[in-house]
Structures are given as structure tokens and as C-alpha cells.
Symmetry: C2
Subunit: 329 residues, 2 copies
């Protein structure tokens, strides 16, 4: 299960099995989306399969995830998603009504995100050989001129901004799956970030890198950026917004909210001179209202993420091995 | 199971569940690939999930299918595939060696087809909730100027050409799955058709429609074209090439080779004045060496496919309800 968790084991699978077999320059970039040239146009292209369990959870469904997950991967390269593909693998015996509900959620999420479902496919496997319904979406979008978002562009001094409180999606799915209650209902943050990214790029196309901290959470995204940029990253723990209910739930469950998946958040590394203006633009957008500066890129400890704790000490924020919560997306 | 078979039940699922939920102009075209405009460029975009069982069969594997299936869908819109995405859903416990073999086959098939695997994703589900390994690929490619392939362009008098003998893929998978032997080994025709299509378009960009007869076989493709064009289609049974071993196997198994899936064949509707030159170009290509004219589009019985039998009679070639052979791709 760990190999599907978005952490070190997933990375090993990519490095040792897939990358050698596939080769290719675009794959070598290891972004959330590939950056391509086709017919003189610069495109982002990304794919995700969704196996979340249960199919419906507080704040969303596999249909919402299938749109927002891929739209957000494209957004992290600066692209506004234009078209999605949608491939269903149904297990024999799944209710048509369930398929309809998922399709309707997916269609509604696509309209909200301003992306068109352009092509699709359906396969059916025998009962006992699937799990109700899996969905894959792939997406394409145009990358605006002058935008070049990748870890290698990060330099010491860059400011690290998170678009809002972290950890809600993973805890929301976990709570409904396990029948847990935490006094207040914790709702997934599942949302499409294309509009927020466009608002940020309107301040300056010169953002350095964006990531949406899904599987492996904020910790995995920061570690990927630290590794890919060769800079160190320092964050201040108490500056990272965590909803109180999520913090309580994590305490009860023994989870670290920095490692819990989000589906409607992003982390940005921004040149220091633009940081205030970008933060302001984010806070003016509904999906960035609680955006916060949480740290910076530094020349020290290249490739490593360190958190300043409340007590004035520091701790290393490791790359997770796998995902704490399986089948979260 | 029938809803995944590429026949009437699949079409119902699309018409009644997916299309109303998703809307969208590109999806409304119902081609093998969507035809899109993005940044002033005309693109084809397609997706397919692959659930074939077993993963390896005479002549190919799920890795070959995953490349060729999507490359061929793009080729049917005239596009040369440029980039593929690749999403794996692994079942906990699948051998890493199996995943590696599939990845290597997929990478090799991509190199043969001249397409780059640009982006990927891996999810893992618990043992008993998947079936070893499923793969989704999506692909994008440029559509050459002047090329406009769709059923609506078919007119009475168009010549129907098939690129070679039909039925091998389905029978090859079936034979290994069921442990059947037919004297000679029947090998899947799995192949990438981008080069063959380019050779045909070099004769004239004015081909009317192309389809690759996968699930539902030649019968499903011809019916889709008849329905989409509003013309009738007449084929001469004995002109449709069927390998003798496939014909024997179908006789034993009670299958009709017109309904068996292919993975490296296409059917073309070509203006009569170009038919001989296109046929010649196809025969000059290794994947079209046995291309044959099998019939024509007619003004009579619009939307219906009719076969002239060997005895001078005719029979209706119906749209299949589902697929005779489940999980063939």
C-alpha cells in the first residue's frame, strides 16, 4: 500500500521501475504536470487515477476529486485547465445510480472549474475484481507566456506561502470511513485552484514553484521542492494554519497534520520582492482568504526541510515513507 | 459486464448517464478521440483504461495495448500521437517484477509508436479490491491541416477499406485465457497505426472517416459510422479478410469474427476517386499489406449495415449488445 502513498516508496517505484522503462524528457521533470510543446504551443498535461474510499465524503466525492485533482496538477504549472478526459473502471454490480451520482458530481465540478470533459472511456470488471468504481482523469491546458514554475527556480530567500489551513481532506475522509466524530464535522477542502493561481500570476508571472500538497501532505510537497531545488526550507510551525478541529482529530488519531492530504490547497515559493503583493492577491480570492507566509528557502541544509517549533527548537520534517491514510484520493 | 463491451449497452451508458452529466461540444462528437482547439492549434485527445486479462498474451501485453489503443484512437482522427499519460492502479500484492515487465512493454511500445510517455500516476488498492494491475493511458496529438475525419462526412459511394484480416486479437486473448489450442498459435494483431494513417493521408487529406474496430469488432465500427453518417453500409462477406485460424477458432467457439476485437486494424471510408490510390498506399505499408476493399456506403437503408452473403443473399449486421469476450482490452 505504501507504494501508492505519494512518499518515498512511491518515488522509488517511479525512479526504479517507471522512469527507466519510459524514458522521456517531460517525465524527467517530475512535476505535478508535464510541460510540453506541441504545434508551437506550450501545454501542461497531467493524469491521476482516483480510488478514494468511500466514494462520497463530507465536502465532496470521487467525482469532485477527479476534476479538482487534475485541474490542480495543471494549475501547479501555471496552466488553466481546458479539457479533461475521464476513464471509468466499474465493478460488475455497482449501482447505475451510484455511477450517475458520481458522473453528476464530476460534471458539476468541471463546470465550476471551467473545464470541459472532452473524451471518455468505460470498462467493466467482474464482481470481486474491482472496488465499485475507479476514475482516471487526464487534463490539458495552456501555460501562459513567461510562466516557468519548477523547483529548480527556487533560490534562497524565496518566501513560502500556503493558501490556507491544511489537513482537512484527509481527516474528513478518514472520519467518515471509520465512523469517527469530532464534535464538529470536518469537511474536505476539495476545490479547483485554477482561479487562485491565475490571480497570483496576475501579480507577477515570476512565481518560482507551486505544489498542491495532496498525498503525503505539506511535508511531501516541501521535501520535493527542497530536493528538486537543492535549497533548504525552513518553516515556522505555528505559522502553518491548521483548523482546530483537524488539529484535535490528528491528536486523537496520532496523525501529523503536515502529512495529511489536502485537495484544495497550494504551497508557493515566491521571490521575496513579490511576496506581500502575492499574499494580498491570494487573500482577496475566496480560496486563499486564509493564506499565510510559513517560511522561506535558505542556503543552509540543502534538500532538507526544517521546522522551527513553538519552543524555539527545530525539527526535521522528513519525506513520508508512504501515506498515513490509504486511498485518500 | 455488457456495459463495458463497446456495444449498445455501452452506448446507452454514455447517452443516458455520462453525456447528460458532462455536456460539452467535444464529447458530443462521439469520435474515438475528441477534436479540440487550444492556443490556435487543433489537437486530438483520447483516453482508454485497460483491464485485459491475462496481462500477457500471444503477440502482446496490457503494456502494448495501453500504448496502441490510445495511439490508434488518436490516429483515427488523423493525429500522430505525440504524448501519452499513464496511470496505474495496482492491487496490493502484485509482484514488482510484473509491474516492471508491463512498464517495459509499455515503454518499448511507445518508442515503436514514436510517442513520449510524459506524465504518470500510481495508486494502490488493497488486495481483493483490484485485479493485479489496471492501466489508463490518455494521449494528445496534432491533427494535420485539412484533415477532418468524422462519420458525418461519409456520403453514398464512399468505398469501405479494411487494413487487414480481422479477429486475431480477441481470439488470441481468449485462447490463452481459456487454455484453448487451435493447431497454430493465434497472435494478437496489436500494433500502432499512426504510420499507416500518415501514409494514407499522404495520398489525400480528404479521407472521410477512420475507425479502429476494437471492442465490438468490425460490426460495431461499421454500425457507428452508419448511424453517425445517416448512410447505409453494404459489405461483401467474402471480401472481409479473416485469418483461417481465426475463422476455425470462431467456428469452434461460436463467435462471429466480425464482432471480435482487433487492436491493430482500421476501417476507412474513402471517396471513390481516391480509393485505389489509398488502397495502394496501405498495401505498401507493413501494417496494411493485406488491406482490402470490403464494401461501400449507400443511400439505401440509412443507419443500417448489410452484408452480402456467399449465397447471393443479404443479412443485417447488427450493433452488438455487449462484447462477446469480456476484458479483451
Amino acid at each position: 500500500m505504501g507504494h501508492g502513498g505519494g512518499g518515498t516508496l512511491s518515488a522509488e517505484l517511479v525512479e526504479q521501475v517507471f522512469a527507466p522503462a519510459f524514458g522521456g524528457a517531460a517525465l524527467a521533470e517530475r512535476g505535478d504536470a508535464a510541460t510540453l510543446r506541441l504545434g508551437g504551443v506550450r501545454l501542461a498535461f497531467s493524469t491521476d487515477s482516483f480510488v478514494v474510499r468511500p466514494l462520497f465524503f463530507p465536502g465532496g466525492s470521487i467525482g469532485d476529486l477527479a476534476v479538482n485533482g487534475t485541474v490542480n496538477d495543471l494549475a501547479m504549472s501555471g496552466a488553466r485547465a481546458a479539457y479533461l478526459s475521464c476513464g471509468f473502471i466499474l465493478e460488475e454490480g455497482v449501482e447505475i445510480e451510484t455511477v450517475s451520482r458520481v458522473a453528476e458530481a464530476l460534471g458539476a465540478a468541471a463546470r465550476t472549474a471551467g473545464v470541459e470533459v472532452a473524451t471518455g472511456d468505460t470498462k467493466v470488471v467482474e464482481s470481486g475484481h474491482g472496488d465499485g468504481l475507479f476514475v482516471n482523469t487526464s487534463g490539458i491546458g495552456l501555460i501562459p507566456a513567461g510562466v516557468d514554475l519548477r523547483p529548480a527556480r527556487v533560490v534562497p530567500g524565496d518566501v513560502v506561502i500556503v493558501s490556507g489551513p491544511v489537513g482537512a481532506h484527509g481527516v474528513a475522509v478518514m472520519s467518515v470511513r471509520e465512523g469517527l466524530e469530532f464534535g464538529v464535522e470536518i469537511v474536505s477542502d476539495c476545490a479547483a485552484l485554477g482561479g487562485l493561481v491565475a490571480a497570483m500570476l496576475a501579480v507577477t508571472p515570476d512565481l518560482h514553484v507551486l505544489r498542491d500538497p495532496t498525498r503525503g501532505g505539506l511535508a511531501a510537497s516541501l521535501n520535493e521542492i527542497a530536493t528538486g531545488s537543492g535549497t533548504g526550507v525552513v518553516i515556522t510551525e505555528r505559522e502553518v494554519p491548521v483548523p482546530p478541529a483537524v488539529a484535535s482529530a490528528c491528536a486523537v488519531l496520532g496523525l501529523d497534520p503536515f502529512y495529511v492530504a489536502n485537495e484544495g490547497k497550494l504551497v508557493a515559493f515566491v521571490p521575496r520582492e513579490h511576496a506581500d503583493a502575492v499574499l494580498e492577491a491570494m487573500r482577496a480570492h475566496p480560496l486563499g482568504a486564509q493564506a499565510a507566509i510559513i517560511g522561506e528557502a535558505v542556503a543552509e541544509h540543502p534538500g532538507m526541510v526544517v521546522a522551527r517549533t513553538g519552543l524555539g527548537g527545530t525539527r526535521v520534517v522528513d519525506m513520508p515513507l508512504g501515506e498515513q491514510l490509504p486511498r485518500i484520493c
